[in-house]
Amino acid sequence: MSYVAIADRHAHLHDPQTFITKYVWSQDHKVIAIQYMGTAMAIGVVAIALSILMRLQLGFPGTFNFINPENYYQFVSMHGMIMVIYLLTALFLGGFGNYLIPLMCGARDMVFPYLNMVSYWVYLLAVLVLVASFFVPGGPTGAGWTLYPPQAILEGTPGADWGITLMLISLIIFIVGFTMGGLNYVVTVLQARCRGMTLMRMPLSVWGIFTATILALLAFPALLVSSIMMALDNHLHTSFFMPALISLGDQTVHKGGSPLLFQHLFWFFGHPEVYIVALPAFGIVSDLISTHARRHIFGYRMMVWAILAIGILSFVVWAHHMYVSGMNPYFGFFFATTTLIIAIPTAIKVYNWVLTLWRGDVHLTLPMLFAIGFVFTFINGGLTGLFLGNVTVDVPLSDTMFVVAHFHMVMGVSPVLVVCGAVYHWYPKMTGRMLDERLGRLHFWLTLIGTYAIFLPMHYLGILGVPRRYFALGDTYFAPDSVHSMNAAISIAAIVVAFAQMIFLFNLFWSLRNGKPSGPNPWRATTLEWQTPETPPRHGNWGPELPVVYRWAYEYGAPGNKDDFVPQNQPPDQGTAVAVGHGRNVG
């Protein structure tokens, strides 16, 4: 049977001719990936700056006169929204998804390259609309990243004139752009894998990104629906979410709407969103650990099934964000149960990471340091999740700093550690140069210790009852003086961590010219992206022939082989025979 892969069927591969089509209006998944990453990191710097402003206020209340309560709420809202959606979602799916899926699956490009390009430019438009909200009268919205009505669109909330409208428009644009990209990622994984690359031979990075994309495609519509309806409530004075109420002494035009309905819709998106960020991180960290411990991933099938199970379960836990919202109290029992069930596949993954490291030939390279840092941090954040998943424990802890500490550990610091590890890991493939090792180690230790200095004490503040979202504590009777000194210490740690990220960004630019040349496969990894004929891979990724895959992605430390790894595309008859599957504990 004649075999023609999809990637080879197109007569022409939209070959770029000019600088513009090569680097600006590019349809090459690698360029689009770097555009996504660059944009996401740039807007991420804004979000870091906002967090520093917040911490300055919390650590040293009354010192910085340019921060007033309205600004503070705007900083909180924009920091959260940017970090969750415009940084992490875009970076993992738009950035790493774009870069890794075609390379790891052995395709020449995404199946819809033009749509892929449009997806990036629509994303950029969404970011620009978001940034524009900083410059309109009244500034950006201060409604919190959850944008709960009724306050989100009422007079008196910062940004009620323009900010909230631009926020909703930006979200709608983002979702449209993401849908274009997401279709690409899913169909590319399903349809454009090279010969021999069965689903169960895919690296876990691809599994994580693939499943997260499906979650995002099904969950973002909930945010789209709620954004559209809230925009109508705001501008056409409908009452989807807005109840009858008196604002600034006047009866508003709204009547009978349900704020709770918004919360249901929002969290029906919002909880899968946590896993949209976490699953790619899970996948990528599995590959980092396996490669740098020179050992096959422990329990590959379990890892895949756990990713799928987490993906499915993530759709039935949303109301654990709403225990104190006034919803039917019986819901709490159901959602607490599902929340605790989701801990099982998650724990399986954690055990498997640890068991992969166990008796592995652990190389403490930069990606490995970040991967281990991730496992630590994720366990920390996951354990406090068990607290908050239980209704009776959650109720007193709701709206305290404990919650802030929990979600920053589990979906702030953890994924960011993976992002950093992944950048240190794949930068050589993207640029042909290594990132500077000393700067990298400085970055790692400052980030790891710094984030623990920020968030561990914050749990304690939360247990004391220090509320979140407060501009200043003032003379609060239950808050001893130590709370204030702890807040100051946290702020200093936050500034150090922010500074450490600047080292990272500097390293990215500096190593572009000054990094050590990396060669094609500096980590001696098995997956296909390291086997490209050129580094960085050219347009079309592979030479005249697409790669053919003969084995899974984790053939490390195989006995009887001249090297301690076997690339996925090395034919079985090359080199010495590889002993496979002989009494090896692979689950």
């Binding site: 849908t179 169909v187 399903l190 069965t198 169960m200 559209i228 409908t238 009452s239 029906f268 899974w552």
Partner: protein, 231 residues
């Protein structure tokens, strides 16, 4: 939200079943080779990626409309507001023109189906007529929806006056928007067929996909209309 959970569970269930059928239980560390004739059937890529892309997109749109309809049902629920006098839901009297519109949309769908079969059987004249009819009746449907909106406005059913009105405009409007997007693709496919300039296979695929989309939007419309009428 039970409806949402059920439909998402259904979509994910189908997905998992499908993947399980793709040997999700295989032991990748055992054996080498390219598995020709096994999973590689997938790689020989039938159906073409665009078709898979459309089905994935339809899953996304389904999620979107199911969530909208769920919001509709929840907002309407009498449990939402405990006091009787605060209940504000006043059902819309659906304008009769909606029934005519439904017929128009169904005829459009039939037209597309004729076009698809015409291309398959190489009856190009019939295909072109079917394609034109498919688009024309879809446009007629949109005009009919616009008339329905105007009639509601004239009868005083303003969007801000009542959540039932607001939902009516939102549901029908978003459905129309999706059809409008389909018409853009339709216009390109029609131009191709009329010019006859591009290979038959390409045109056939676009016509095929448009037909699927038309049927899908007809199904969505029938569900929406059913929901609007029974409430």
């Amino acid at each position: 939200m039970n409806l949402v959970v059920a439909s998402v569970a259904l979509v994910l269930g189908i997905l998992v079943w499908w993947m399980a059928a793709r040997r999700l239980t295989s032991r990748p560390w055992e054996g080498q080779g390219t598995f020709d004739g096994r999973d590689s059937a997938l790689i020989h890529a039938e159906p073409p990626p665009v078709r898979v892309g459309l089905w994935v997109f339809l899953a996304v749109v389904t999620s979107f409309f199911v969530l909208l309809m769920t919001a509709y049902v929840i907002r309407m629920s009498p449990h939402l507001v405990q006091t009787i006098d605060l209940r504000d839901w006043r059902p819309v009297a659906e304008p009769p023109v909606l029934w005519l519109n439904t017929v128009l949309l169904a005829v459009g769908s039939v037209g597309m189906e004729i076009a698809r079969r015409g291309l398959r059987d190489r009856h190009y004249d019939r295909a072109a007529r079917g394609l034109l009819a498919g688009g024309a009746f879809a446009i007629a449907f949109l005009v009919g929806q616009w008339i329905a909106w105007r009639q509601l406005q004239a009868a005083g059913y303003y969007a801000a006056a009542n959540p039932a009105n607001a939902f009516f405009y939102v549901l029908t409007g978003l459905h129309a928007l999706h059809l409008l997007g389909g018409l853009v693709v339709w216009a390109r496919a029609t131009a191709r067929v009329l010019r006859g300039s591009i290979s038959l296979e390409t045109t056939r695929l676009s016509v095929d996909l448009c037909t699927v989309y038309w049927h899908y939007l007809l199904a969505v419309w029938i569900v929406l209309l059913g929901l609007l009428v029974i409430t």
